[in-house]
C-alpha cells in the first residue's frame, strides 16, 4: 500500500530526526494532499470538457476565452479556473432562517464522501492509497454519505425547493444503490474477491478477459450498474434533486460561493468514482486492452484514467441529450425493472459459471 511505501521511504530518510508517530501522520497526509490536488485538477478538466461537449452538442462553440483584454486563454482553457476562483471569493450567504450548523456541514460532508471513496480506487498496479481487502464494498458504503449530506443541505436551507430536492434525492439515491450493488455482485462472484486490485488482476490478459465479456449476462449487469450510477450522481435524465426547470437549483438553491463550489466539485468527483468502479470492475481497470502492448505500470495509469474518462464522456453525452424522468417513473424504473433484472442476472451468472467453468 502507498502509505506503507511512503512510510518506509520516510523512515529511512528521517528516522533519526522525527519519531514514528509524526512520520506516520506525514505518510498519511501526503497522499491525501496529492489526492486533493488530483481531484481539483480533474474537476477543472472535466468541467471544461462538459462545457465544451455540451456546447458542441448544442451547435455552439463553448468557452473561447473571448472578451475584454486577456480572457480565459486560448479556447477558454482557463475558464474553469476563473470560475473556481470567483466562486471561492464570493460572498458566503447563510440565510437567517437556515439551520446554521447543518447548513455549514452539508457541503463539506458531501465532499468528504466523495473524497474518501477515492482512497480505495486503484490507479495502477501499485498506485492505490489504501488497498483494502473489502475495497469495492467500502466504496459502495461511503458513497452513501452523499445522500445524507444532500438531505442535510435540503433540510437546513429552510427553503421549500431545497427540501423537495433533498427528499427526492433521499428516495432516489437510496433506491438506486440496490441495483448498483447487485450488479457489482456479479463482478464479485466472478472474481471471487472484494479487493479492487484482485478484481483487476483477475481481468489480466487482453480485452477478452475483461469481466464485461466473461459471459452474456455481464453486459446487462454493466448497463444496469452504469445507469444506476448515473442516477446516484444526480445527472440528467435522473437529475431530479436539482432539476433546473422544476426546483430552481434543488438542494443547492440557497448555497452561494465556496459552499456551492463544493457541491459542484463533489458532483464531478462522484462521477469519477462511479466511472472508475465501472472501469475497474468491468473494463479491466489498468490493464491494456491488447495483451502486451503499452502494458507497463505507467501506462496502467493512462488506461485506467482514459477508461474512466470515456465513461464520464458518455454521462455528459446522455445528460445533454435526454429529457428528465418524473419522480414516480424514476422509482418504477428502479424497483420494477432494474431490481428484477439485477437479481435474475446474479442467478444467470451463477448458473453459467457452474455449467461452463
Amino acid at each position: 500500500m502507498t502509505v506503507d511505501i511512503i512510510f518506509d521511504f520516510f523512515s529511512e530518510l528521517l528516522a533519526d530526526f522525527i519519531g514514528t508517530g509524526p512520520l506516520l501522520v506525514m505518510a498519511m497526509l501526503l497522499p491525501c494532499l496529492l489526492l486533493f490536488g488530483f481531484i481539483t485538477v480533474y474537476a477543472l478538466i472535466v468541467i471544461y470538457t462538459e462545457l465544451k461537449v455540451s456546447s458542441f452538442i448544442q451547435d455552439k462553440v463553448g468557452p473561447m476565452g473571448q472578451g475584454v483584454g486577456l480572457h480565459a486563454g486560448k479556447w477558454g482553457l482557463l475558464q474553469p479556473i476563473a470560475d473556481a476562483l470567483k466562486l471561492l471569493l464570493k460572498e458566503d450567504i447563510i440565510p437567517s432562517s437556515a439551520d446554521k450548523p447543518l447548513f455549514v456541514l452539508a457541503p463539506f460532508m458531501i465532499f468528504i464522501g466523495a473524497f474518501i471513496s477515492f482512497i480505495a480506487l486503484p490507479f495502477g498496479e501499485s498506485i492505490i492509497i489504501a488497498d483494502l481487502n473489502i475495497g469495492i464494498f467500502y466504496i459502495l458504503g461511503v458513497g452513501s454519505i452523499a445522500v445524507l449530506s444532500i438531505i442535510l443541505a435540503g433540510w437546513s436551507s429552510n427553503n421549500k425547493w431545497s427540501l423537495y430536492g433533498g427528499m427526492r434525492s433521499a428516495a432516489q439515491i437510496v433506491s438506486y444503490e440496490i441495483p448498483a450493488g447487485l450488479s457489482l455482485i456479479v463482478v464479485i462472484m466472478l472474481a471471487g474477491t472484494l479487493n479492487m486490485q484482485d478484481i483487476i488482476q483477475y481481468q489480466a490478459g487482453g480485452v477478452f478477459n475483461w469481466i464485461l465479456f466473461d459471459n452474456p449476462f455481464v453486459p446487462i449487469a454493466f448497463v444496469v450498474y452504469f445507469i444506476s450510477a448515473m442516477a446516484e450522481t444526480n445527472r440528467t435524465p435522473f437529475d431530479l434533486p436539482e432539476s433546473e426547470s422544476e426546483l430552481v437549483a434543488g438542494f443547492a438553491t440557497e448555497y452561494s460561493g465556496m459552499r456551492y463550489a463544493f457541491f459542484f466539485l463533489s458532483e464531478y468527483a462522484n462521477m469519477f468514482v462511479v466511472s472508475a468502479v465501472a472501469a475497474a470492475g468491468f473494463l479491466g481497470g489498468w490493464h491494456s486492452p491488447i495483451l502486451g502492448i503499452l502494458d507497463s505500470p505507467a501506462w496502467g495509469v493512462f488506461w485506467m484514467i482514459s477508461k474512466t474518462f470515456f465513461l464520464i464522456f458518455i454521462m455528459i453525452w446522455l445528460r445533454w441529450t435526454l429529457p428528465r424522468l418524473r419522480v414516480d417513473q424514476l422509482m418504477n424504473v428502479c424497483w420494477k425493472v432494474f431490481l428484477p433484472i439485477a437479481l435474475v442476472n446474479i442467478f444467470g451468472v451463477a448458473i453459467w459459471t457452474v455449467i461452463f467453468n
Binding site: 418524473r326 419522480v327 414516480d328
Partner: protein
C-alpha cells in the same frame, strides 16, 4: 403512538422561476409531490396596453400590439389591421395580402418552434431547445431582411405594409424552407418519439373538448383536444381561402386525445402546414402592386365598434375596437388566447405531480406579455 397529521404545503412557483416562461406566479397546494390546487397569479407584466390605446392614435397602437405577444408580433399586427380594415371598410390589394400571409405563417413557425422548444426545456431536454432557437434565428433573418427588426416589427399597417419585400426575399425564403423542412422531422424524432418524452407527456394533463370550449381555450390547444376549429379555415380572413392546407387535430396517438403529447404534436404538424402555406403563397405572390396603395392619409374610422378574431399561433386573437369617430380609439380590448389558456390550468393540472404541472404549463405555450397586456 400519536397520530401524525399531514399538512398541505403551500408553494409559490415564481414570479422568478425557470419554468414559468416569464413572470407568472403559481400558488400551488401540494401534498408531497402531488399538487391538489393551482392558483395562477398574473399581472406581473401588466403594461397598460389598453390604457395606451386610448391615448395614442390608431396607427400608434400597432407598436404596442407588437409588444403584447413578443413571440408572434407579426400575427398581432395582422389581427389589429384586419380588424381596423374591416371597421373602415378598406380593401387592400393582393400583393399586400399575400405578403401578410407569408409573414404571419413564418411567424407561426418561429413561435411554434420556441413553444415546443420551451416545452422540451420544461421537461429537462435542453439541447432541442437550442436547436430550435438556432433555426428560429433564420426566420428572424428573413424578417430582418424585410423590415429591419428582429423581434418587434411594426410591419403591417392599416391599409398596407411599412415596406415592400426586399430583393431576393423569395429566394431567401425558399432557401430557408428547403433547409428547414427536413429539420422538422428531426425535431419530431428528437423530442416526440423519445421514450422518456413520451412517458412524460402521453396521458398527462388531458383536456377534454367540453372543458376546452367552456374555458375558451383556442388554437392548437383546442385542436389537440380533437376539435377542428381554425379561424383561417372556419372564418377566413385575408386570402387564407386561397390556400390548400389541412388543420391538424389531436388524435391521441400516444395516449388520450387532448394530452400534452397531442398538444406538442399538433404544433409540429402546424409547422408543416405553415410551410405548405408559405410555399403556395410564394408561388402565387403577385409581382406588382403598391403596398401603400390603400393606406388612408388619416385614420379616422366611423363611429361604431367591431370585434374581429384572427388565428394567432396561440389561438383566437380578438380585437374589440370601439371608435367614437376621432383619430384616437375610444377603447381597444385584446382578447388574448393565452389568457384563457392559462385559466384552464387549475382544471387540467390539479391532481398531477409537480413535474407534470410544469410540463402541462409548458404544453399550453403561454406568453406572459399577452396574458397581462
Amino acid at each position: 403512538m400519536g397520530v401524525v397529521h399531514a399538512q398541505e404545503m403551500v408553494l409559490n412557483i415564481g414570479p422568478q422561476h425557470p419554468a414559468t416562461h416569464g413572470v407568472l406566479r403559481l400558488q400551488v397546494k401540494t401534498d408531497g409531490e402531488v399538487i391538489s390546487e393551482i392558483t395562477p397569479y398574473i399581472g406581473y407584466l401588466h403594461r397598460c396596453f389598453e390604457k395606451h390605446c386610448e391615448n395614442v392614435t390608431y396607427e400608434q397602437v400597432i407598436p404596442f400590439t407588437d409588444r403584447c405577444d413578443y413571440l408572434a408580433s407579426m400575427t398581432m399586427n395582422f389581427g389589429y389591421v384586419v380588424a381596423m380594415e374591416e371597421l373602415m371598410d378598406i380593401k387592400v390589394n393582393d400583393r399586400v395580402e399575400y405578403i401578410r400571409v407569408i409573414m404571419a405563417e413564418l411567424q407561426r413557425i418561429a413561435s411554434h418552434l420556441l413553444g415546443i422548444g420551451a416545452f422540451g426545456l420544461d421537461l429537462g431536454a435542453f439541447t432541442p431547445f437550442l436547436h430550435m432557437l438556432r433555426d428560429r434565428e433564420r426566420i428572424l433573418d428573413i424578417f430582418e431582411m424585410t423590415c429591419g427588426a428582429r423581434l418587434l416589427y411594426n410591419y403591417m399597417w392599416v391599409g398596407g405594409l411599412s415596406h415592400d419585400l426586399p430583393t431576393g426575399f423569395v429566394e431567401a425564403t425558399l432557401h430557408f424552407l428547403d433547409y428547414f423542412e427536413p429539420k422538422v422531422d428531426e425535431f419530431e424524432n428528437l423530442l416526440g418519439h423519445n421514450k422518456i418524452f413520451v412517458e412524460r407527456t402521453a396521458d398527462i394533463g388531458i383536456m377534454p373538448a367540453e372543458v376546452a370550449i367552456n374555458y375558451g381555450v383556442t388554437g392548437p390547444n383546442l385542436r389537440a383536444s380533437g376539435i377542428n376549429w381554425d379561424l383561417r379555415n372556419d372564418d377566413p380572413y385575408s386570402v387564407y381561402d386561397r390556400f390548400d392546407f389541412e388543420v391538424p387535430i389531436g388524435d391521441g396517438r400516444k395516449g388520450t386525445v387532448g394530452d400534452c403529447w397531442d398538444r406538442f404534436y399538433v404544433r409540429v404538424c402546424e409547422i408543416r402546414e405553415s410551410i405548405k402555406i408559405v410555399r403556395q403563397a410564394l408561388d402565387q405572390l403577385p409581382k406588382t402592386g403598391d403596398v401603400h396603395q390603400s393606406m388612408p392619409k388619416k385614420i379616422r374610422p366611423p363611429k361604431g365598434s367591431i370585434y374581429r378574431r384572427t388565428e394567432s399561433p396561440r389561438g383566437d386573437l380578438g380585437y374589440y375596437i370601439e371608435s367614437d369617430g376621432s383619430d384616437i380609439p375610444y377603447r381597444v380590448k385584446m382578447r388574448s388566447p393565452a389568457f384563457t389558456a392559462l385559466s384552464v390550468l387549475n382544471e387540467i393540472g390539479s391532481g398531477w405531480l409537480m413535474s407534470d404541472v410544469l410540463g402541462i404549463l409548458g404544453s399550453l405555450d403561454i406568453v406572459l406579455g399577452e396574458i397581462d397586456r
